[in-house]
Amino acid sequence: MTLRCLLVDDNQHFLLAARDLLEREGLTVAATAEDSAGALGRAAELHPDVALVDINLGGESGFDLAARLAPIPVIMISTHSGEDYADLIAASPAIGFLSKIELSAIAVRDLVAAR
C-alpha cells in the first residue's frame, strides 16, 4: 500500500520540488499546506499516514503543529542541521527528523516502519 503523506512547509519552491520527488519515488502526497491552520484542516479531511512538517513555519512552530496533529505520525524536516534541534526533536511527539536535502521516499518509509 502506498504511503499517503501531508507536506507542511512555508516555502512554495520546496513544496513543489518535494511533492514532485516523493511522488516520483512512489509515495502519494495527499496534500500540501503552508501553515498550521491549513495543515490541521487538510489532516482532518484526508487522514494522511504521515505528515512531514518543517520545524520553522514562518512565525509558527513546527513542533507545536506536530503535537496538534497527533495521532498522525509526524516527521520533522528542516534545512537546518538536525543536531541543532536534537533535544527538541527528542522531546516532541515526532517519530523522527529528516534534513530537507536528504528527503526521499525510502527515508520516509523507513521512519514510519521503525516507529
Binding site: H13, F14, L16, A17, A18, D20, L21, R24, I101, L103
Partner: protein
C-alpha cells in the same frame, strides 16, 4: 559661603557624574547644591528640548501645583525667566513676581524674585538654572556668583547627559548589529538556502534536458539573489575601490536620478568610507520611499581633517530625525566615528542631510 565649601560641593557633583549614576540623580543633586550654595528659597533646573518645549528636571525649595519634576514645564509667562532665557540665551532676572503678568502662581508659591542662568552645552542652549527668593529682591551680585558656580554645575549636567546618551547609543549600535545579523540569517535561510534545497530535490528527479535547463535557469536566479544579499552585507566595490565608485554604483541602482560629486584624492579609513556609504544608501532609500523626490544630490569633500557629506533631495521634506529608526541608526553610526549629522527637512522644502566626520 567660602571657597572650601564650594569645592566640597563641586567635588560631590563630580563624584556623582564619575560614578555614572542616572542623569536624573545628577540633576537633583545639582539642584540641591545650587539651592544650598545660594541659601535661597528655591532652585530649579530646566532643559530646553529640541522641539521647543521645556522640561522641569529638578526642584528644591518652594513648590506649587505647576511644579512637576520630570514633566513638561507649561504655562510660563512670555516675560518670565523660562521664556526670556530661551529667547535670548542670556541671564534673566525677575525682581517681583507680583508685578510680572502671569507671574501670580510663582508669587503664590511664596517667591518674590528670581534669577535664571542659561546652561550652554555642545554649542547650544541646553537648559536653565533658576534661583528664587522669598525674602525679597535677590542681591545684585547674584548673577556674578551664579555665573561662576553654575558654569561648573552645567559641566556636571552636560556630562551626565552625554554619558547617558553614550550608554544608550552603544546599546542601540549593538542591538542594530545583532538585528542585522538576524536579518541576514533569515534572508539566507528563507531565500537562497530554500531555493537551493528545492533545486537539489528537483535535480534528483530530472530526467531530460528540458528539466536540467529549468534547474540551471533557477540556479541563475539564486546566484543573483546571493549577489544582492552579499552586496547588502558589504559592497565589495567599496573595499576594493573606495567611496567614489561605490557611491556611483549605488546611484546607478537607484530608481531616482542621483548626481554624485565626490571630491577625494585618496582612500579614507574604512570605517569612515563605510559610514558615509550607509548614510547615502539610507538617505537614498528614504528619498525613494517617503520623500517623493525627483532628484538627489550627493556631495562629498574633504577639508582640513574633516570629511563633509551633503545629501539633498527635492522631495516633500518633513522628515523627523527623532522618529524612524533609520535616522537614529545613522546618527549613532556617525557619532561613533566622532562625527555629527544634521537633518534639515522643512515641510515642502526637501530634505538635506549634512554630515561631518573627522578623518
Amino acid at each position: 559661603m567660602d571657597d572650601a565649601e564650594t569645592l566640597v560641593q563641586l567635588r560631590r557633583l563630580a563624584l556623582l557624574v564619575a560614578q555614572g549614576v542616572p542623569p536624573e540623580e545628577v540633576f537633583a543633586a545639582v539642584c540641591k547644591e545650587i539651592w544650598r550654595h545660594f541659601g535661597g528659597s528655591t532652585a530649579r533646573l530646566f532643559r530646553y528640548e529640541l522641539d521647543g518645549t521645556v522640561t522641569l528636571l529638578a526642584n528644591e525649595g518652594t513648590t506649587g501645583p505647576h511644579v512637576r519634576v520630570g514633566e513638561r514645564w507649561e504655562g510660563y509667562p512670555p516675560a518670565g525667566l523660562t521664556a526670556s532665557v530661551q529667547r535670548t540665551g542670556k541671564i534673566g532676572r525677575i525682581n517681583d513676581f507680583r508685578e510680572l503678568p502671569g507671574g501670580q502662581k510663582y508669587a503664590d508659591e511664596g517667591l518674590i524674585s528670581a534669577v535664571g542662568m542659561p546652561i550652554h552645552a555642545n554649542g547650544r542652549l541646553w537648559g536653565m538654572i533658576a534661583v528664587g527668593s522669598s525674602e525679597g529682591r535677590l542681591p545684585d551680585d547674584t548673577e556674578a556668583r551664579m555665573a561662576a558656580f553654575t558654569e561648573l554645575c552645567a559641566i556636571a549636567v552636560a556630562n551626565a547627559q552625554s554619558r547617558a546618551e553614550l550608554v544608550s547609543s552603544r546599546a542601540r549600535l549593538v542591538a542594530a548589529a545583532d538585528e542585522a545579523r538576524r536579518q541576514i540569517e533569515r534572508d539566507l535561510h528563507d531565500g537562497a538556502q530554500q531555493r537551493l534545497v528545492a533545486l537539489a530535490l528537483r535535480l534528483r528527479s530530472v530526467t531530460d534536458a528540458d528539466g536540467a535547463a529549468e534547474v540551471a535557469a533557477d540556479l541563475m536566479t539564486v546566484i543573483d539573489e546571493l549577489r544582492e544579499l552579499s552586496r547588502g552585507i558589504h559592497p565589495a566595490v567599496l573595499s576594493d575601490s573606495g567611496l567614489r565608485p561605490a557611491l556611483r554604483a549605488l546611484a546607478r541602482r537607484s530608481p531616482l536620478p542621483v548626481e554624485i560629486d565626490v571630491r577625494l584624492d585618496a582612500r579614507l579609513p574604512s570605517a569612515v568610507e563605510i559610514g558615509v556609504y550607509y548614510v547615502v544608501s539610507e538617505v537614498l532609500t528614504n528619498a525613494v520611499k517617503h520623500a517623493n523626490a525627483t532628484v538627489v544630490l550627493v556631495e562629498v569633500s574633504v577639508g582640513e581633517d574633516v570629511l563633509e557629506l551633503c545629501v539633498r533631495d527635492d522631495g516633500v521634506g518633513g522628515a523627523d530625525p527623532s522618529r524612524g529608526s533609520g535616522l537614529v541608526g545613522l546618527t549613532d553610526r556617525i557619532a561613533a566615528l566622532g562625527g555629527t549629522i544634521e537633518v534639515a527637512s522643512p515641510p515642502g522644502g526637501g530634505t538635506t542631510i549634512t554630515c561631518r566626520v573627522p578623518v
